[in-house]
Amino acid sequence: MLPIASGAEVRAYLRRLIRAHPRMLALVVVLHVSAAVAGLVTPRLLGDLVEKTSAGTTTATVDRVALTITGVIVVVSVLVRYARLASARLGEQVLATLREEFVDRVLAVPPSTVERAGTGDLLTRASRDVEGTSSTVRFALPEVIVGVLQVLLTLGAVALLSPLLLLPALIAVPVLWSSSVWYFRRAPAGYLASSAAFAQLTDGLAETVEGARTVDVLRLRRRRVRRTQAHLRGVYGTNMYTLKLRTVFFPLTEFGYVLPGVVTLVAGGWYVMEGWATVGQVTAAVLYFVALIDPLDRVLSWFDQLQVGLASLARIVGVQSVPVPAADAPPAFTDERIVARGVRFSYVDGRDVLHGVDLEIRPGERLAVVGPSGAGKSTLGRLLAGIYTPGDGAVTVGGVPLADLPLASLRQHVALVTQEHHVFLGTVRDNLVLARPSASVAELRRALATVDALDWVDALPDGLDTVLGEPPLSPAQAQQLALARLVLADPHTLVLDEATSLIDPRAARHLERSLAGALEGRTVIAIAHRLFSAHDADRVAVVEDGRITELGSHDELVAAGGAYAALWRSWHGTDRQPTASP
């Protein structure tokens, strides 16, 4: 798992982002305060009007007050508009910086961290959390801050009328406070559970559809329907829980909203009759308390969104604390020879996967690594490609440990090719230039030709500039693009980890030709699970139980009559000697 930021870290991070735009921030504050203050004038004017009409006044006075009210309303609406626009600009700015810094950090995370953490967690952060954060930063955060500001200013306005009129409303504070505390302690977890239940439902539906053939063939219909049913029950259960919370919270807060106005009216009436306040003051105070409902309600209804959003934010900011190696100048090399000496490695302390492997790769050779699943072949491959650092011993290139090389320099030496292929959103060209941003069209075409992919790329509607995606490339074509990328990156050594294994055997043969093109002129370490690739190699290393048990050419190993020879014979299904030789 990747780290999650603490509340203090999130606040510090947000403060830094917001303070990077001091002028925008100042504008936002000034506009919002002015809008809120101007908004408080109307109830006061209305109070005056009631006061004056009840005391008896002229039509001219009424006209004058009405005109003033109209003027104030125009000013308030203009202020509200620009205040909100200013905070939208600031919010969008902060949000853009937030996601851009996140992506830059993701792009700097060391390969070994990516390998270990898996992409699932990071994928959730990049999609769901970034989206969740955006409505929080854009809406929840400003709504809550502005709402609190309005509430405080409105209370201030009542106090300006008469501090005495503030007293009766205090009765609502315990009602609102205690119900809010009760609710917000439970709500975020409840809403998270409910959206998780919804996500399960959609994931389940997606599975049913994508696996439709399997469902049909294996007669899993009832099971899929039962599963949907179970997911719906999950959605129902979690929604009933949050509904229960609201059933307590909503009536209490609504009661809390009404209370100040009612109490102020009755108590105010008493004040008026005692001569402590005028009719106008009381009317204005009642109207203020009615006007208070809207900002108060906005604060409370955005608050759980804010809590949920802050949890997302913590996961995004958390990625910032993944240590990133500093880029050093590459050291000097003597040659391109990759050597492993006494290499040990463990994923879990005390459980070595490799027990002291020694291996010297000869420049330009083809080395096949074979052995049973779980023997440590892939781990060895990742160590030789510099993705993992040995726990003990060292893997060196030209005498320099791979672990000491900056990534940019490591890539010039060795690359790992796995069965994982990924076509990036964008055009064919976008996909290729990643490996060499300066590549010319001629170079791109040469790389495609090398992997036997130029024909189909030329057949695309816009050639190199065709946007990929619909219809999707076949896995074989995707793998060819990946190989063309490698040709452009041009490392002297390649580690192939079952590079073609998941490809449909129908396409695998064609792909092997592409692979041969990409391997041309490079040192190749092939982790093979099909013996025919081993048979073509210069040397074969047999890995069993974390050790290299046999090492030599195909013919030597067959002649030696060990584990490899036995397998070769059984694979061929004959005791005959193989007819083909490299």
């Binding site: 109307t42 009631v50 009405a66 009210i69 609406s77 509200v80 508009r81 620009y82 626009l85 939208a88 969008e92 996601r99 851009e100 992506v103 995370v109 992409t119 699932g120 990049a126 999609s127 389940g204 539906l205 599975e207 049913t208 559809v209 994508e210 053939r213 399997t214 469902v215 049909d216 063939v217 899993l220 329907v225 029950r233 959605v235 129902y236 209490l252 609504e254 009661f255 106005g261 009612v262 109490v263 009755v266 105010g268 009436g269 009759m273 009719v279 049973p372 699943s373 890539r411 990924h422 990036f424 976008d430 490996a435 060499r436 490698l486 079952e498 055997p505 099909r530 299904g573 490299p582």
Partner: protein
């Protein structure tokens, strides 16, 4: 209220989108009617507040303590009624929302599984999934808003009557002015929706870009290109920001208008009211009441526009649902199905015959030919002419064929859930199957063994592990006829040798067909049918005899053409 989801959602009326929504409405009537009733109480109790407020202000000016207390009591009572009816109404609304959505998901999921292998050919996965998300919401909201609209209509009528009763001209200003206001604000909503949609699309694309970067991160870190990708992301992120600001420009204009227009209207009402009050036509309390009525009416009128909007969306969603419900499966049960019996399985198209109880392999020069034969003898190809003991498969009930013949290929999926359940119902059979598929080590390495929850597509497993687990799943099912397409293409040679050794034993007495070019598997088959480039069986025999007698076969399985 009944617990949801219901066991049986019922048979939908899927002739038109409108009929579908009506069907949902009728099915939900027992919770929709109380929802409407409570909605009326809720709205009317709010509509009466201005009257009580006005009475209070009048009592204030008249220094009438009793009347003041009465007005205060009325306000408090109305507040309590609003709060209680509000939450009750909300509870029914949630039930209606969920009930409608659940019903929609249930009939969709039921139909999707009914379509089986036809589904991916005719419907994009995204369409079904969107029924579980956006269409769920829109069908649900259309029910919820229908219940609320009832309350809004009654409240508007009540307020209109009260206003006209006090003062006809002032009442008319309010009754005509407020709908006008809502209409004007509604005009602004359209451009806002358009910009929001544009911004959402950009933001969605940006999220896609970020997900793309993360998915390809291992590759990026391997071959480079971080700067290029970062620059691309930054450009798109700035586009999203700019689009966000464009939305905000209209959005804040709307917010400003929502302050300005009702504000001006209230000012107008207040001005007229005050003049009436000065002329003695109404009391100061009634002036305050008018002010409050004008402010209140905006709410129920918005519900009416919301109703129009949500109903439209609900109809669009229902349209998508009935489109899916209208997709017919490619294969249908025959009217008069024949009885299935065990026996030889033949594919006249290629001349392939799988002997009953025997282990037959298909080695094809072009592997797609072998897969096509597998689809025909498994009745996955609707044009299949395959015969089971001389009886065409298409004359049998589909379920009989499926329970008799199982075709497993590499497009099959592992599903989320407990691994043990995923592999089969009988634990003993599951263990034996795992052993035969050389997959016991995979389970042994899991923290909770067979109780481990597996991720969707089994993506926590490597390609080879998934293939072995899928093999174990069909072996545990133990069907009379099992057709395996390239069952070991992703496993290493050692493991393949183990599986090849185990397969004939675990399938003893059952019919097994394996499409493969692996010598390890071919060597274990009773008979190998060699399918050449014509797509027809060119030679049959044991692996060894074919190696000697048929050079084209030898070339196919030892792959000398590529060496």
């Amino acid at each position: 209220m009944k617990r949801l989801p219901l066991d049986d959602p019922g048979e939908p009326d899927s002739r038109t989108a409108g009929r579908y929504l009506l069907w949902v409405l009728r099915s939900q009537l027992p919770t929709i009617l109380p929802g409407i009733a409570l909605g009326i109480v809720w709205m009317v109790s709010q509509a009466l507040v201005p009257a009580a407020l006005g009475a209070g202000v009048d009592a204030l000016t008249a220094h009438d303590r009793t009347a003041l207390l009465g007005a205060g009591g009325a306000l408090l009572g109305l507040g309590i009624i609003t709060a209680i009816s509000g939450i009750m109404r909300h509870r029914f609304a949630v039930t209606n929302f969920l009930g409608a959505g659940f019903r929609t998901v249930q009939v969709t999921a039921r139909h999707a599984t009914h379509l089986g292998a036809t589904l991916p050919k005719k419907v994009a996965a995204g369409e079904v999934v969107s029924i579980g998300t956006t269409d769920f919401d829109h069908v649900g909201y259309s029910m919820d808003v229908s219940a609320r609209t009832g309350g809004a209509v009654v409240a508007i009528i009540v307020v209109a009557v009260l206003l006209l009763d006090v003062s006809v001209p002032l009442g008319l200003v309010v009754v005509i002015g407020v709908p006008l206001l809502v209409g004007v604000v509604g005009l602004l909503i359209k451009p806002l929706h358009q910009r929001r949609r544009a911004q959402r699309e950009l933001a969605g694309a940006l999220t896609g870009r970020a997900a793309d970067i993360v998915s390809g991160l291992r590759i990026l870190r391997g071959v480079g290109g971080e700067d290029v990708v970062s620059a691309r992301y930054r450009t798109e992120s700035q586009q999203v920001r700019a689009a966000g600001v464009r939305v905000a420009k209209v959005e804040t204009l709307l917010e400003g208008a929502q302050v300005l227009l009702p504000g001006l209207f209230v000012a107008l009402v207040t001005w007229l009211g005050a003049r009436f009050a000065v002329a003695g036509k109404i009391t100061p309390g009634e002036l305050v009441a008018f002010y409050a009525y004008a402010a209140f009416l905006v709410g129920p009128l918005r519900t009416l526009t919301e109703f129009a909007e949500k109903l439209t969306r609900g109809l669009v969603a229902a349209g998508r649902v009935i489109t899916l419900l209208g997709v017919e499966p490619e294969l249908r049960d025959p009217a008069d199905p024949a009885a299935a019996t065990a026996g030889d399985l033949a594919d006249p198209g290629s001349g392939f015959v799988a002997g009953s109880g025997r282990f037959t392999a298909i080695a094809a020069t072009r592997p797609e030919d072998a897969a096509a034969i597998a689809d025909r003898i498994g009745l996955l190809d609707p044009a299949s002419e395959a015969l089971l003991l001389g009886v065409p498969l298409r004359t049998l009930k589909i379920d009989d064929v499926r329970s008799h013949i199982v075709v497993a290929d590499n497009d099959d999926r592992l599903f989320r859930g407990r691994l043990g359940d995923e592999l089969g119902a009988r634990p003993a059979a599951v263990l034996a199957a795992l052993d035969a598929a050389a997959a016991l080590d995979i389970v042994a390495a899991l923290p909770d063994g067979l109780d481990t929850e597996i991720a969707e597509r089994g993506r926590d497993f490597s390609g080879g592990q998934q293939q072995r687990l899928r093999l174990a799943r069909v072996l545990a099912l133990d069907p009379p006829v099992l057709v395996l397409v390239e069952p070991t293409s992703a496993v290493d040679t050692h493991t393949e040798a183990l599986i090849a050794r185990n397969l004939p034993t675990v399938r003893t007495g059952r019919t097994t067909v394996v499409c493969t070019t692996s010598p390890l598997l071919l060597d274990r088959a009773d008979t190998v049918a060699f399918v050449d480039v014509t797509g027809r069986v060119a030679a049959s025999g044991t692996h060894r005899s074919l190696l000697d007698s048929c050079p084209a076969y030898a070339a196919t399985v030892t792959r000398e053409d590529d060496a």
